[in-house]
């Protein structure tokens, strides 16, 4: 597998992985170390994993072993979860991460069904701090026209998502 694919898959899962590690160790420095070590081990041993679901599962399972190693060192000086609870949280985190990816895929599909002009207008309206009236002016529209177009785009997206959910 190319470095690019590996890091793309890793970045896709990094937030969920960090949340998972942090919820158990509750120490951002330790979380950083565990995440970095997990990435290094994965690259060393499982660089051929290209299937996103298999990659995610292996990533979390690898992190679990790093957490257990951390736990062995720290169990004396702080209250930590027992191994069964850690295993349970690992499985639960993998399941939730799978769902997150599924959701993102659905939203991406919905956005891709919009035409480019609408997608750009939607992004501009919702992702910038520029007031709608100023955006309308830049586009040579009246604010009312802009509001109406955004409403139309939202209705279209709503329909697309409901259609995708009902498949």
């Amino acid at each position: 597998m190319s470095t690019r694919i590996f890091f793309s898959l890793f970045i896709q899962n990094e937030t969920d992985l960090r949340n998972y590690v942090q919820m158990i160790v509750r120490d951002w420095n330790a979380t950083d170390e565990i995440v970095q070590e997990t990435a290094a081990i994965l690259w060393e041993k499982y660089a051929d994993l290209a299937d996103p679901a298999a990659f995610r599962k292996t990533l979390f399972q690898t992190a679990k072993f790093q957490i257990l190693a951390w736990r062995r060192d720290r169990a004396r000086d702080r209250l930590v979860l027992d191994e069964d609870a850690i295993a349970f949280l690992t499985d639960e985190s993998i399941r939730r991460a799978d769902e997150t990816q599924q959701t993102k895929e659905l939203i991406r599909s919905a956005m891709e069904r919009l035409d480019e002009t609408d997608r750009n207008l939607f992004a501009r309206a919702y992702l910038t701090q520029t007031p709608i009236a100023d955006q309308a002016k830049d586009l040579g529209l009246t604010p009312m026209t802009m509001y109406k177009r955004l409403q139309k785009i939202r209705n279209r997206l709503l329909g697309i998502i409901q259609e995708l959910l009902n498949r």
């Binding site: 793309s8 949340n19 349970f88 959701t103 939203i107 919702y126 992702l127 802009m146 939202r154 709503l158």
Partner: protein, 113 residues
């Protein structure tokens, strides 16, 4: 991290766990709830999640800039009324989508924060 609703004993338990001020007995109770109570579990996961709206905003920007790049995509959503999810699909999945749908139903004059 959500720190609201401090008066709720379960929320307090989660907060103590995260703050590492939890006692040994409380940790046992915490673990038991975590593995046996789906509502408590959802509550816990909500506490430890980063700000998904902010994260998705960044990802969406990436998508708009480079739609053919293999990056994660998402779009921001606003808090709103969340309809009951159909039981056939995972609840978190529907929660996320429902929030997104609630955004779509908002007036155009109140874009995402």
């Amino acid at each position: 991290m959500n720190t609201s609703n401090q008066s709720n004993p379960r929320t307090e338990l989660i907060q103590k766990y995260l703050d590492q001020t939890i006692s040994s007995d409380q940790l046992s109770e915490f673990q038991a709830l975590l593995t046996s109570d789906a509502t408590f579990r959802d509550q816990f996961f909500q506490f430890v999640q980063v700000d998904v709206a902010v994260e998705d905003m960044i990802l969406f920007h990436n998508y708009m800039d480079q739609p053919n790049e293999p990056v994660e995509e998402g779009i921001p959503f606003a808090e709103g009324l969340i309809p009951e999810p159909p039981t056939a699909l995972p609840s978190r999945f529907h929660l996320f989508v429902s929030r997104f749908l609630s955004l779509l139903g908002r007036p155009a004059s109140s874009p995402v924060r």
